[in-house]
């Protein structure tokens, strides 16, 4: 995934990291993985609210599917228990399958929607499933909203 960052970064020559926005977890439904759909103010000028909300809602639905406790997960659990969990060495769990789907989805979103707008979404699994990190890039030369804080944030990531 790191290489994809560099590739997307290289594609947009002449951009630099301005700031990072962190979408926090929404715990109102308990400990299941769900992110807040509140639109951050830093992205107001960069992307349409509907697109952003759509992305977060789709991610939330993926995580809901991964953590669903139903027939499939019971079967998986019982089968794994009967084999002393050795079967996990050969078999991919439901959660892992959904994580792969999420990774593909995020990559797609980055290429089609966020990349052209100078944004980059980091897969939450790389941040401990705590936040969705959205990096905001700016064209070099246009000082725009860069303050000493954002430029030092940029320098700290170099």
């Amino acid at each position: 995934m790191a290489t994809e960052f560099h590739n997307l970064h290289d594609l947009r020559q002449g951009t630099s990291l301005a700031t990072k926005v962190f979408i926090q977890r929404d715990y109102s439904d308990g400990t299941i993985c769900k992110f807040q759909t509140k639109f951050p103010s830093e992205l107001e000028s960069r992307i349409e609210r509907a697109l952003f909300e759509d992305t977060v809602k789709t991610l939330n639905s993926f995580y809901c599917e991964a953590e669903k406790i139903g027939g499939q997960s019971y079967l998986e659990g019982c089968l794994a228990c009967a084999t002393a969990y050795i079967i996990f060495l050969c078999m991919e769990t439901q959660y892992e399958k959904v994580l792969k789907k999420i990774s593909t989805y995020i990559q797609e979103q980055n290429e089609k929607i966020y990349g052209p707008r100078g944004l980059l979404i980091t897969d939450p699994i790389e941040r401990g499933m705590r936040v969705i990190e959205i990096s905001v890039y700016e064209d070099r030369g246009s000082s725009g909203s860069s303050s000493s804080r954002s430029s030092s944030a940029a320098s700290s990531t170099r």
Binding site: V21, G30, A84, R130
Partner: protein, 389 residues
């Protein structure tokens, strides 16, 4: 100037007091002495049972007895090793940008506090199933802990759905390995009862032939009897306790703290109010993946030149290379977990300073790579850092 690249795995740089083995695949706490004792007791007792009593029992009663004992023993060992070696659900520490973002949010929230007055404790309130749950800020990990997470001081990590730190398995018990831990205690109870019962049967049968005292003298297989007798009560008791916790969907940590004891009308918001549903969620829920990246590769640029003969690598934590900086998981903001009052007045000033002084980080000791109790970190090659049990 030739620059070499040394590839190392992420586990070598992880903060926290864990030991890693098999190139990051195995993760345990630092103190493993009691875990070895557990292994010795289980393997030793079973070995005596198989060697001295099973032949007699197979002959005089049924060959199914040792077969079932072997299967049960293998299951116990599998569960023990799975509990001990897996990631319990460690939450990785916040990267500097995330930590800064959270700090700024807190600063904004505390803007109304007059200068000089102690700021309020860092707590976020969330509502879960019409119950207000307080999320505490972890000064070590620089995150607001998710609900049910807790910081283990022995392993120095925040663990999701933290149950307890178990020295017998040499690891924390958390979201990812709780079911293995429960199955371990359950199967160990069964194994203990099984060996105890058949040991008694064996002694009785032999006594019929040769007398009670002679039997005890002849067979060393009576030692399992003693071990089983003493472990039976604790293991069966522990299994019973965890069965009770599972049926209520509580953790040991919550039980000890009395979080959902019913005082002030607080109730457990995570419980489905149905024993079957609670058991199913805990035992048959999805297998959560590890969010701690242990085996990811990190490529370090090592500046070498002809003048640096013999020094083929630079101590990695001191190299101010561009790749290491964003991956350091400690933000140089709060030096000490327990002194928020001292730091608070200077936090705004230190925020500006910290971004420019990445190299002078105080929390460098936290970043030293995998440690074992006997090995000090030195500028050795990454390959030599694989911990041997």
């Amino acid at each position: 100037m030739i620059s070499k690249k040394a590839a190392s795995r992420r586990w070598e740089k992880l903060p926290g007091k864990n030991t890693f083995c098999c190139d990051g695949r195995v993760m345990m706490a630092r103190q493993k002495g009691v875990f070895y004792l557990t292994l010795f007791l289980i393997v030793g007792t079973c070995a005596l049972f198989f060697a001295f009593e099973c032949p007699y029992l197979a002959l005089h009663l049924s060959p199914a007895i040792p077969v079932f004992a072997i299967l049960l023993f293998l299951f116990v060992m599998a569960m023990l090793l799975r509990t001990s070696f897996s990631d319990p659900g460690v939450l990785p520490r916040a990267l500097p940008e995330e930590a800064t973002f959270i700090e700024m949010e807190i600063e904004a929230a505390n803007a109304n506090v007059p200068a000089g007055q102690r700021p309020p404790p860092r707590i976020r309130n969330v509502q879960i199933n019409s119950q207000i749950v307080k999320l505490k800020y972890c000064y070590t990990c620089k995150i607001f802990r998710p609900p049910r997470a807790s910081h283990c001081s022995i392993c120095d990590n925040c663990v999701d759905r933290f149950d307890h730190h178990c020295p017998w398995v040499g690891n924390c018990v958390g979201k990812r390995n709780y079911r293995y831990f429960y199955l371990f205690t359950l199967s160990l109870s069964l194994l203990t009862i099984y060996i105890f019962a058949f040991d008694i049967v064996h002694v009785v049968l032999r006594s019929v032939d040769s007398g009670f005292v002679n039997t005890l003298k002849e067979t060393p297989g009576t030692y399992p009897l003693l071990v089983c007798f003493f472990t039976l009560w604790s293991v069966v008791g522990l299994t019973g306790f965890h069965t009770y916790l599972i049926s209520l969907n509580q953790t040991t940590n919550e039980d000890i703290k009395g979080s959902w004891s019913g005082k002030n009308r607080v109730q457990n918001p995570y419980s489905h109010k149905n024993i079957i549903k609670n058991c199913c969620e805990v035992l048959c829920g999805p297998a959560y993946p590890s969010v701690l990246d242990r085996r990811g590769l990190m490529v370090e640029e090592l500046p070498t030149s002809a003048s640096l003969d013999g020094t083929t690598e630079v101590p990695l934590s001191k190299a101010p290379s561009p790749h290491t900086a964003p991956r350091k998981t400690t933000a140089p903001l709060i030096p000490n977990e327990h002194t928020p009052e001292d730091v608070k007045p200077g936090i705004a000033a230190s925020l500006e300073k910290s971004h420019t002084s990445e190299e002078e980080r105080m929390p460098t000791p936290l970043n030293t790579p995998c440690k074992s109790p006997t090995q000090d970190r030195g500028p050795s090659s990454p390959k030599e850092k694989v911990q041997k049990l």
